[in-house]
Amino acid sequence: MAREAAPTATPRTVPTRPRMGREALAWGGAVALLLSAVALALMFGATTQTPIEVVDAIVDRGSPLNRTIVWELKLPRVLIALAVGASLAASGTLLQGVTRNPLADPHVLGLTAAGALGVSIATRVSGDLPQPVLAPVAALGAFGGAALVYGMSWRGGVSPVRLALSGVAVAALFTSGITTLLVTSNLSTQNALAWLAGGLFGRGWDDLQVTWPYLAGGLVAAVLLSRSMNILALGDEPAQSLGLSVERTRVLAVATAAVLAGASVSAAGMVAFVGLVIPHAGRFLVGDDNRKLIPFSAILGAALVIYADLFARVVVAPTEIPLGIVTAAVGAPFLLYLVRSKT
C-alpha cells in the first residue's frame, strides 16, 4: 500500500440496526411456524394422533398401527414437504436475484417443466424408470432447461431481462413438450407420469432417501452463494468493480436453482408459487441481504409446503386434493396483491 493511514473516524463495532427487534421477531416467528407445521402435520391428516401418540410412534413404543401411520406415512411425507418447500423457496430467491425480477421462480422460468420433461422422456423411452434414477434425471432435465434459458439469453453476456424473458419462453416450450409427449403416449406412459401433476401422495422414506442429497446439496450451495448474490444485486458494473466474477456467479446461481427445482419435481411433481411468493415475504420481513434472506425463505417455504400438504390431506379427508391446487390458491391472490402494490 503506497499510502499513509486514512484520516481516522472513531472506530465502532458492528453498528446496531433499528430493525433488530422486528427481525428477531420474524426469525422467531418463522421457526415457530415451521415447528408448529411439523407438529400439526404429524398429528393431523386423514387420521389424528395425539402428541403423545406421535412421540410414542416415533420411538416405536405405541401401537403398530400408529407406528405405521406416523413413522411410515406421515413423517417421511412431512420431511419431504419440508425439503421441497425449502428448496423451491431458495430456488426462487436465487432466480429473483439473478434476473432482478420479482416475478421469477423456477416454475415461471421453466425449470420445473424442464425437470418434468426430462422425467417424461426418460419414462417414455425406458418404459419404467427405477426410482433411484428419478431425482438425478429430473435434476439433469432442469439443468438442461437452465442451460437452454441461459444460452438463449446470451449475447456477449447475459442480461437479467433477457434471462427472464428466455425463461418464460422456455417454460412455454417445455410445458407444451410435456403435453405433446403425454398426448402421443399410450395410456400406460400417461399413467406412469400422472404423479407429475403434483402432490406428495404415497411419498415415503425411499423417496426421501433418493432426493434429499440433491436438495441438501442445493440448499448448501445456495447459502454459500448468498454473499456473491448480494454483490450481484448491486448491478453488473458495481459487482465487477468489487471483483465479483459476474457471469460465473450467474451460472452457479442458475445451476443451483435448477438442481433444487429438478429434485423438487422428482419428489413432489410440479408445485407452483412457492418459489415466487416466499422470497417476497422473506424480503419484507428480513430485508434484502441474501445471507439472511435465503435461509429465512427456506424456513418459510418449508413451513408453507408442510401446511399446504396438511390442508390437502385434511380438507376432504379421508381423501386428498393435489398439493399444487393449495399452493396456487394461496399463491395466486398473493401474486395479485404483489402486482398491485408494485405497479
Binding site: G45, A46, T47, P64, L65, T68, I69, E72, L73, K74, G127, D128, L129, Q131, N186, L187, S188, T189, N191, A192, A194, W195, F201, G202, R203, G204, W205, D207, R313, V315, V316, A317, P318, T319, E320, I321, P322, I325, V326, A328, A329, V330, A332, P333, L336
Partner: protein
C-alpha cells in the same frame, strides 16, 4: 368496506378452486345399479322375441336414442374396446377396432382407427359400415360427428353392472341374434347365484388403479366397484367424493387405508414396471395391512375391469367372487 371486495373476490376464487378439486366429478352416483336381486332390469323397450328382429327396426340404445336400422347390418364398425367386445360376444364381427383392443383375437384383424377418445372418422367411413357401434361411457360427445357419416349409430356401454344385460339385449336386437338375450339372462342368473352364496360378513376390500406410488381407490359407483359390490365386497372407499381425474375414483389417503385394514386388495396396475401388488409387498407402510400380511393383494385384469367394461362381466364377476371368498367359490 368496499375496499375489501377485491380481497373477498380473491378468497372466493381460491375457495372455489379448492372446492372444485375436492369434489371432483361426482355426478355418476346414480348409475350404481341395484342389481342385487335377479333380473329387475327389464330389457330395452322394443320387444325382444326369440323370433328375431324384423327390419326396418328401431332400437333404443344406451343413451336412450331411438336408432333406426333399415336392414340387418352386414358391415359393423365398433369403435371402442367395449363396443368391439360386445359385438364379438354376440357372435358378430367388426370392421374396425381401436388401438388398445386385444380381445378377442379375431378382433385384431380389424382396422385400427386410433384411440377411443379420438377415433379417425375417415377410417371409419372408409370401411363403409352400415352400423356404427359406439361407447355410451367414453364417446357420447362424438354423436354429432358420427351421425354426419350418415350411418345408424348405436350406443352400448357399461358404467355399472346393470348396464351390461341392457347392452347385450340392445346389441343382440340390433344384430338380429339370440345371443344377446342369452348372454344377458345368463349374466343375471349368475349374479343372483353369487349373491345367494355371499357370506353374511363381507370382506373389507380396497380396489386401486394406478402405480405403486400413485393410485386411486375405486368407489362403489365405478364399474369395478359395482362388480365388487355384487361379489360381496365391503368397499373401504365407500362414501368418499370422486375427486380423481376420472369418474368413479377417489384419492384415498394411505393413512385412511392403513387404518381401515382391508382384507383384500384388488389392483389394476396401469403402467409397466412394478405392479401395485409387488410395490405394496415391498412397502413397510403396508406390512401391517391384513391384505398384505395374508397375501391377498391381487392384480386384476385392466381390460376386463377398467378399459373394456361390460362384455366380460360374467367372467369378471366370478373372478372377483373367487378372490373375495375362495372358500365359497373356489380358487
Amino acid at each position: 368496506m368496499h375496499r375489501y371486495w377485491k380481497a373477498a373476490l380473491a378468497l372466493a376464487a381460491a375457495t372455489s378452486l379448492i372446492a372444485a378439486a375436492a369434489c371432483g366429478d361426482d355426478d355418476d352416483t346414480d348409475t350404481g345399479g341395484d342389481a342385487t336381486a335377479a333380473p329387475t332390469t327389464a330389457a330395452a323397450a322394443s320387444p325382444t322375441a326369440a323370433a328375431g328382429t324384423t327390419y326396418p327396426a328401431t332400437v333404443t340404445d344406451m343413451l336412450g336414442r331411438s336408432v333406426a336400422i333399415p336392414a340387418e347390418p352386414k358391415s359393423v364398425a365398433a369403435i371402442s374396446p367395449t363396443a368391439v367386445e360386445f359385438v364379438y360376444a354376440v357372435g358378430g364381427t367388426s370392421k374396425t377396432r381401436t388401438k388398445s383392443v386385444t380381445y378377442p383375437e379375431d378382433a385384431l384383424a380389424a382396422k385400427d382407427i386410433g384411440s377411443a377418445y379420438q377415433p379417425s372418422l375417415e377410417l371409419i367411413a372408409g370401411e363403409a359400415p352400415d352400423l356404427i357401434v359406439a361407447d355410451s361411457v367414453l364417446q357420447p360427445q362424438l354423436l354429432n360427428d358420427l351421425e354426419a357419416l350418415n350411418v345408424p349409430v348405436l350406443y352400448v356401454g357399461a358404467s355399472s353392472f346393470a348396464d351390461v344385460p341392457k347392452s347385450f339385449r340392445i346389441i343382440g336386437e340390433a344384430l338380429n341374434t339370440p345371443e344377446g338375450e342369452a348372454q344377458a339372462t345368463a349374466l343375471e342368473e349368475q349374479a343372483a347365484e353369487i349373491e345367494a352364496k355371499i357370506p353374511a360378513t363381507k370382506s373389507k376390500v380396497l380396489i386401486v388403479n394406478g402405480t405403486p406410488d400413485d393410485f386411486f381407490a375405486a368407489l362403489p359407483e365405478s364399474y369395478v366397484g359395482d362388480l365388487a359390490r355384487l361379489a360381496g365386497a365391503d368397499n373401504v372407499a365407500a362414501g368418499q367424493p370422486g375427486n380423481a381425474p376420472f369418474p368413479g375414483y377417489t384419492k384415498l389417503s394411505l393413512e385412511a387405508i392403513v387404518t381401515e385394514q382391508p382384507e383384500v386388495v384388488l389392483a389394476i396396475t396401469a403402467a409397466p414396471g412394478q405392479t401395485i401388488s409387488e410395490g405394496l409387498a415391498a412397502n413397510a407402510a403396508w406390512s401391517d395391512v391384513p391384505a398384505v400380511k395374508n397375501q391377498r393383494v391381487h392384480e386384476i385384469d385392466a381390460q376386463v375391469f377398467l378399459q373394456a367394461p361390460g362384455p366380460r362381466a360374467a367372467e369378471g364377476l366370478l373372478a372377483l367372487a373367487k378372490l373375495l371368498y375362495p372358500e365359497v367359490f373356489g380358487e
